[in-house]
């Protein structure tokens, strides 16, 4: 394994640097002494958000799904009034679908979109999985899915390495 041969600007390295930076920030923010389940759960949430954010930032705005993820992350944060205003003025369906990702699973098949019938029920499910997939036709959806799968695999690889490194120390 040659350490010097890796491409410094590849997706993997970009994501790794960003994610580690976010991790250190999270570590610095909260005191690590308290390790209640609640705390750990909150930490897990933050880490997950950081992972998605750093992945979307690594891809920038080149892909539709990364743009949708960034937009979603920005409008989800309740910190500023601007964010809430943005959320209110945005398309309600999109935020509600994003927020209630798991809750409306039962009704998934009942209110399938009529205007995007070209993929059938499976395309509907795929659209819900891939961020920003609701407004895409099947052709673009498949493109986005392929890139999204590639990025997810990189994300999983890097996070696993980090977890292993954590466990070593």
């Amino acid at each position: 394994m040659d350490l010097q041969n890796m491409n410094p600007s590849s997706l993997k390295s970009r994501f790794a640097t960003r994610f580690l930076r976010a991790l250190t920030k999270i570590n610095a923010q909260k005191p690590i002494s308290s390790s209640s389940s609640r705390e750990i759960f909150q930490r897990y949430r933050r880490i997950k958000v950081a992972a998605d954010k750093s992945m979307a930032y690594s891809v920038r705005s080149r892909r539709s799904w990364s743009r949708a993820t960034l937009w979603r992350l920005r409008t989800r944060s309740p910190r500023s009034r601007l964010a809430t205003l943005a959320r209110r003025s945005s398309v309600k369906t999109r935020t509600t679908r994003a927020a209630s990702h798991g809750a409306t699973v039962v009704d998934r098949k009942s209110h399938g979109k009529e205007n995007k019938e070209d993929g059938g029920v499976e395309a509907e499910e795929l659209r819900e999985l891939v961020p920003g997939g609701e407004a895409m036709d099947l052709c673009n959806l498949l493109d986005e899915t392929a890139h999204y799968i590639k990025c997810l695999t990189t994300q999983v690889q890097v996070m696993r390495t980090i977890a292993n490194l954590y466990s070593l120390h």
Binding site: S35, I40, Y44, I47, T145, L152
Partner: protein
């Protein structure tokens, strides 16, 4: 008679200078001149000319060639293309038959005239003349065929645009129509079929050029539909390469199902790993963060698993186990694909329960590569 002889003399042209056409023109002129005289005594002409002719026959010239020559010239003189077309092109055919067909009396005058004019022809010249004649015949045939095919093309061009399967039909008809298969006719038919087989010949460069196959509809809607379908199938093939274990699955619905499952499993893996990092973060305080990026980025995914297997795994204290459990239960949305949820929960529970007993087992379970985990929960799901 004297008059005729004089005209004959005038007719004796130098064979080196004049071509067949010129000779023909001269002959026609001579015929016109002698039309009045012709009917007077054709028999006499024949009678006088026969011994000469027989002498000629006995010469080195192939009798068949001579006869062929004369007949051709007669036909050309009369401008009769119908007989001309039926006339066989192959010379040697004629050469085999030694029979001389004496023409009927009405053409006797022409026959005699042509014979007399050709009496000065030597063997060498007949060969040249034969080639020239063949060329001329080819030209004549070209002109007839082209003229005929021009109308044929015009007629066909209208109907070909509608029916696509006429590629071969045009060729077949073209070959059947002209009995004489010359190079030019086949070339013409090939060109016309080439023109007509292209579906959309557009001059603008930003159009997509598509060639319709035989037996397929050619209107723009179906073409666009077909192009779209081919694009989709290409993308599905790319996705098949990305998603493991879907080589056997054919069909859009099955493939989409596999893709959906794989994306869901990857997303869940991200959640697991973030949970793990969160749990570990709480236990581990100081980490050498500076060297991390380089190490993390350069870790190849496949190589690290056998390395890690030998290393000691992490120990989750009971509190962490609890937290991980509740995290799992919370993140695992029960209404969503329950089979997968139960399978993954069972996997994690197994790992947690056995972590106190063995060191390597939970580690290996947690560190299963995406393909292994995916296959495991697939087995649990089906």
């Amino acid at each position: 008679m004297l008059h005729r002889l004089e005209s004959l003399k005038s007719c004796t042209y130098d064979r080196m200078d004049m071509t067949v056409l010129e000779r023909q023109a001269a002959r026609l002129k001579w015929q016109q001149q002698n039309h009045v005289v012709q009917n007077n005594n054709p028999a006499e002409l024949c009678a006088s000319s026969v011994p000469r002719f027989q002498g000629l026959v006995g010469s080195n010239l192939g009798s068949g060639q001579m006869v062929e020559l004369k007949r051709l010239e007669v036909f050309l003189g009369t401008d009769n293309f119908q007989e001309f077309l039926n006339f066989p092109v192959t010379g040697p055919e004629f050469g085999d038959s030694e029979k001389l067909d004496l023409l009927p009396p009405e053409a006797a005058a022409d026959y005699c005239i042509s014979r007399t004019s050709s009496c000065q022809i030597t063997a060498l010249d007949t060969a040249v003349m034969k080639e020239e004649r063949e060329d001329m015949s080819l030209e004549k045939m070209e002109s007839t065929i082209v003229s005929g095919r021009g109308s044929f093309n015009k007629r066909k061009a209208e109907t070909v645009a509608d029916h696509k399967s006429k590629d071969k039909r045009i060729k077949g008809e073209g070959e059947g129509e002209s009995e004489v298969k010359t190079k030019c006719s086949t070339e013409i038919s090939r060109n016309s079929s080439k023109e007509n087989s292209k579906v959309s010949e557009v001059q603008k460069p930003d159009y997509i050029h598509v060639r319709a196959r035989r037996g397929q509809a050619t209107d723009s809607h179906s073409l666009a539909e077909r192009a779209r379908r081919e694009k989709l199938s290409k993308k599905m093939k790319c996705l098949q390469d990305l998603v493991p274990g879907c080589n056997k699955i054919t069909g859009k619905a099955g493939m989409l199902d596999e893709i959906i499952n794989y994306v869901q499993s990857l997303q869940r893996q991200v959640e697991f790993l973030s949970m793990k990092i969160a749990a570990l973060n709480s236990s581990v305080e100081n980490l050498p963060m500076k060297e991390f990026p380089a190490i993390v980025a350069n870790f190849p995914a496949a190589a690290k698993l056998p390395e890690m297997a030998g290393l000691p795994c992490f120990q989750l204290n009971p509190l962490q186990k609890e937290s991980v459990n509740c995290m799992l239960n919370e993140s695992m949305h029960p209404p969503q694909t329950e089979g997968i949820a139960s399978a993954s929960v069972s996997i994690s529970e197994q790992s947690l329960s056995s972590s106190s007993m063995t060191q390597l087992q939970p580690f290996s379970t947690w560190n299963m590569d995406p393909q292994g985990l995916y296959n495991m929960y697939n087995m649990g799901f089906h």
